[in-house]
């Protein structure tokens, strides 16, 4: 009796906790509302299954608890019931998987009009590179990194001359414009994570990964590193500041004028730069 009651309390308590607890996701600030919706669908389906299973179990524990004279029912299998349960489960799983894959297709298909930016994570700070007026990022290579070329830009690439490098600073983005963030690390794994954007992807040394999103509201959001990268991992924070287009342009003009890439004298070291 007590056991059945506690099982019911666990099931009901979990649902109540879900509904009333103050701990919930941050207000979304990007186009990935679809992800939130898929999570909600998943919560409903899994929540219903959880409650059904636990309540059924509680009922069995109460109804079929040992009493004098009770004998269990001998029934090795029940093909019909087993197949029905399998099919229903299959349908439920498909109902979660289908929207998931549909949204994933969107998640990895970058719109043509997305602006390339670079997010550069190193132990233990974030740097960024924005394309200047030409709208394009120059090539880069880890082996070109030096004190006066902290991101390893390829200075032989003419596109490098107007790239805006922001070292250890804040990333400014215009609102409502799709962004493709190219992710690059010169040392260990990191992960570019902005909770409000629902966006997250590893930075892997030796390759360039990407993620895209469209900021949908202005504000300041925290960038966290979400892949263990050594003792400084929790301190590896940054800020992304989403602004109205006009404010963003004003900020960008100022940055272009004082850009690191532009002001620094050409320090090409003669290295042959692949790719």
């Amino acid at each position: 009796m007590a056991v059945a009651l506690i099982l019911v309390l666990v099931a009901v308590g979990s649902v109540v906790f879900h509904l009333v607890s103050p701990w919930w996701w941050t207000p979304i600030a990007s186009n990935w509302r679809y992800i939130d919706n898929t999570i909600i669908i998943t919560f409903w389906i899994t929540g219903a299954v959880f409650v059904a299973v636990i309540l059924f179990m509680a009922y069995c524990v109460y109804r079929f608890r040992h009493q004098a004279g009770r004998q269990a029912h001998y029934e090795p299998e029940n093909k019909r019931l087993e197949w029905w349960l399998t099919i229903v489960t299959g349908v439920g799983v498909a109902a979660m998987l289908a929207p998931g894959l549909f949204v994933w297709q969107q998640f990895i298909t970058v719109p043509d009009d997305a602006t390339d930016i670079e997010v550069f994570g190193q132990q233990w700070q974030w740097s960024f590179r924005l394309p200047g007026p030409d709208g394009q990022l120059a090539t880069s290579d880890t082996r070109l990194i030096s004190p006066d070329n902290p991101l390893g830009l390829n200075r032989d690439d003419p596109k490098s001359h107007d790239d805006v490098v922001i070292e250890g600073g804040e990333l400014h983005l215009p609102v409502n414009r799709p962004i493709k963030a190219l992710l690059r690390s010169p040392d260990v794994l990191h992960n570019f994570y902005v909770p409000e954007m629902r966006a997250k992807m590893d930075l892997v040394p030796g390759q360039i990964s990407y993620i895209w999103f469209t900021p949908t509201r202005t504000g300041t959001f925290e960038i966290l590193c979400a892949e263990l990268c050594g003792v400084g991992h929790p301190q590896m924070r940054g800020k992304v500041i989403v602004q109205e287009e006009s404010e963003y342009q004003a900020w960008l003009q100022e940055k272009v004028a004082t850009s690191f890439a532009r002001l620094t004298p050409d320090t090409r070291n003669g290295a042959v730069v692949p790719d």
């Binding site: 899994t46 079929f64 299998e77 998987l97 998931g100 082996r143 260990v188 794994l189 030796g206």
Partner: protein, 593 residues
């Protein structure tokens, strides 16, 4: 399905081979230390694994103290915190759960449950334990070396694991960790071959595969999987050790370290992740399948009812085992691998939910119309279902590729895998210990202490990990030793963290009651007799309890029925042991055999 004709002993096939004379110990040392008896080896494995478990428990306390009360304990700095989580994770997954289920329960139960006198290679079995013990010593030694143990996280991702920014990365920590893993895998291989071959070759007459208890099926499948999965970790460990010691570049691309270029080129950090998870995902099921098997037997025995859908349960075990080898990259959705892999791995991952769900249905349908005895092993089995269903369902979030994006690397993941492969299997381990302790010692564990232990552990663990999901949903990343200055985290989250820590301390303390019970009952426990639970499986039918060397006295048992003849209509008692001749309905489908 081939099945032995039912009826009398006369029609059971004659033995294929003669009973082989066992190696008999000649001294105390060969009997209890360098023992070749699987039962002694099982106890050795269990004792060492539980001891490692206590170390891991203390480590979890330390990390919870830091998370609940950041800054109060000055000796837990970032370095120490990362060392604690790394050692806690690796110890629990490999050195506790794997060793306990396969080395502990596997050794004790396989020979007894299939009706063998011992494992088929007793000497190799002995070596297996001692090599495992060596691996544990190497691992624990890393606490006492300059620089301390590695703090790379239990996943040991390079390049971070072998660079200076990580505790133990350029000291001895990572080297000892990799060496210990390699030694462990060598030891496990010796044991694993034993478990698999014993099940295939040493079953008693009449013990067809489809009459085996699900415990044996679970341990057998898990051992087979481990033999296939651990080599991937082994080569990964060798390659990383070369990278660390010889300066190779298997996992090291051209990179800089603290501003200085390193002389490395062309390696792939993702390659290690693929190797690690090709091991790591099957590993989840290597821990889960023995738990599935054991809990099936606990539920059936204590509900006095045949396990529902036995054949479906066996096929589900095998399906899960096979599928678990093609889902590994669901740990890598946001790793920067080719994003198109996501479609494949999300699909396989969610498919695995179907056989898993079948198992859950069959457990609760076994309770349906049962005669449920709510004793301590049964309570743990029920709690297993609650936590496993909870953790399994949150797996549907993380397996569904796009849903994983916001949740990956957050506390949601920590809560999920603790619920599903930490709490759930450990509840089964406790249930199994309460269940089989009488066979091992001849005495019952104390019931009142057992119930206290159960309620605190079950409700406490649920209270720890259920709310933790919501911290992850909020966006709090895992592996942060301090979240104090995050703008989006409300003060209430810190209160929740403190609550979780306090509950964790209480649950940990309750384990002392369990340890006390283990030792106290050895002397003062009620005498159990040979078959206190009135169970059908062979280990309860030994002529003596605890079973002596050789298990069966003069004659090996002969098996006449499946393992689940509980409450057979018309029988004069509510269980029919597997070795009892006579008519029965036996295994489903037996008639067509």
């Amino acid at each position: 399905m081939v099945d032995v004709p039912l009826g009398s002993a006369g029609v059971v096939a004659a033995p294929d081979v003669e009973d082989v004379e066992l190696y008999h110990p000649h001294s105390w040392v060969t009997k209890y230390v360098f023992s070749q008896d699987a039962k002694v080896i099982a106890i050795q494995y269990s004792f060492v694994a539980l001891s490692v478990g206590l170390i891991a428990l203390v480590l979890s306390w330390l990390m919870r103290l830091q998370l609940g009360f950041p800054g109060v304990f000055s000796f837990i700095d970032a370095n120490a915190y990362y060392q604690f989580i790394t050692m806690h994770g690796m110890m629990m997954v490999v050195y506790v759960l794997t060793a306990l289920f396969l080395g502990g329960f596997g050794n004790y139960l396989i020979p007894l449950m299939v009706g063998a006198r011992d494992m088929v290679f007793p000497y190799v079995n002995m070596l297996s334990f001692w090599v495992y013990f060596l691996a544990v010593l190497i691992l624990v030694a890393s606490f006492f070396i300059p620089g301390g143990p590695t703090g790379a996280g239990w996943t040991l991702y390079p390049p971070q694991a072998i660079t200076t920014g990580t505790p133990g990365g350029q000291d001895w920590g990572i080297i000892l960790m990799l060496m210990s893993l390699m030694v462990f895998i060598i030891g496990f291989t010796m044991g694993g071959l034993n478990y698999v071959v014993t099940v295939l070759q040493a079953r008693a007459r009449g013990m067809t595969l489809m009459r085996m208890p699900l415990t044996v099926w679970g341990i057998f499948t898990a051992s087979f999987m481990a033999l296939l999965a651990f080599p991937a970790l082994f080569v990964g460990a060798v390659m990383m050790l070369f990278d660390r010691v010889l300066g190779t570049s298997f996992f090291m691309p051209a990179m800089v370290e603290m501003g200085q270029p390193l002389d490395r080129n062309g390696g792939s950090p993702l390659l290690f992740q693929h190797l690690f998870w090709f091991f790591g995902h099957p590993e989840v099921y290597i821990v889960a399948l023995p738990a599935f098997g054991i809990v099936s037997d606990l539920i059936s025995t204590h509900a006095r009812r045949n396990i529902f859908g036995y054949r479906m349960m066996v096929w589900a075990l095998l399906a899960i085992g096979a599928l678990s080898f093609i889902v590994w990259a669901h740990h890598m959705y946001v790793s920067g691998m080719n994003p198109y892999f996501g479609f494949f791995f999300a699909t396989t991952t969610l498919i695995i939910a179907v056989p898993t769900a079948i198992k859950v249905y069959n457990w609760i349908l076994t309770l349906w119309r049962g005669d449920i005895h709510l004793n301590v092993p049964m309570l743990f089995a029920l709690a297993f279902i609650v936590t496993f269903v909870n953790g399994g369902l949150t797996g549907l979030f993380l397996g569904n590729v796009v849903v994983d994006v916001p949740l990956s690397d957050t506390m949601f993941v920590v809560a999920h895998f603790h619920m599903v492969m930490g709490v759930a299997p450990i509840l089964v381990i406790f249930g199994a210990i309460y269940h089989w302790y009488p066979k091992v010692t001849g005495r019952m564990l104390n019931d009142a202490l057992g119930k206290l232990h159960f309620w605190v552990t079950f409700l406490g663990a649920y209270a720890i990990f259920f709310p933790m999901h919501y911290l992850g949903l909020m966006g709090i990343p895992r592996r942060y030793h301090d979240i104090a200055d995050m703008a989006f985290v409300p003060p209430s989250a810190h209160t929740l963290n403190a609550f979780i820590t306090i509950v964790a301390l209480i649950v940990g303390a309750a384990q002392l009651a369990f340890v006390f019970n283990l030792f106290w009952s050895l002397r003062h426990g009620r005498n159990s007799g040979g078959n206190p639970w009135r169970a059908t499986t062979l280990e309860w039918q030994t002529p003596e309890t605890p079973p002596p060397h050789g298990n069966w006295g003069n004659d090996l048992p002969v098996v006449y029925r499946w393992a689940y003849d509980y409450s057979v209509p018309g029988a004069d008692q509510d269980f029919l042991p597997q070795n009892q001749p006579g008519p029965s309905r036996a295994a489903p489908g037996a008639g067509h055999g």
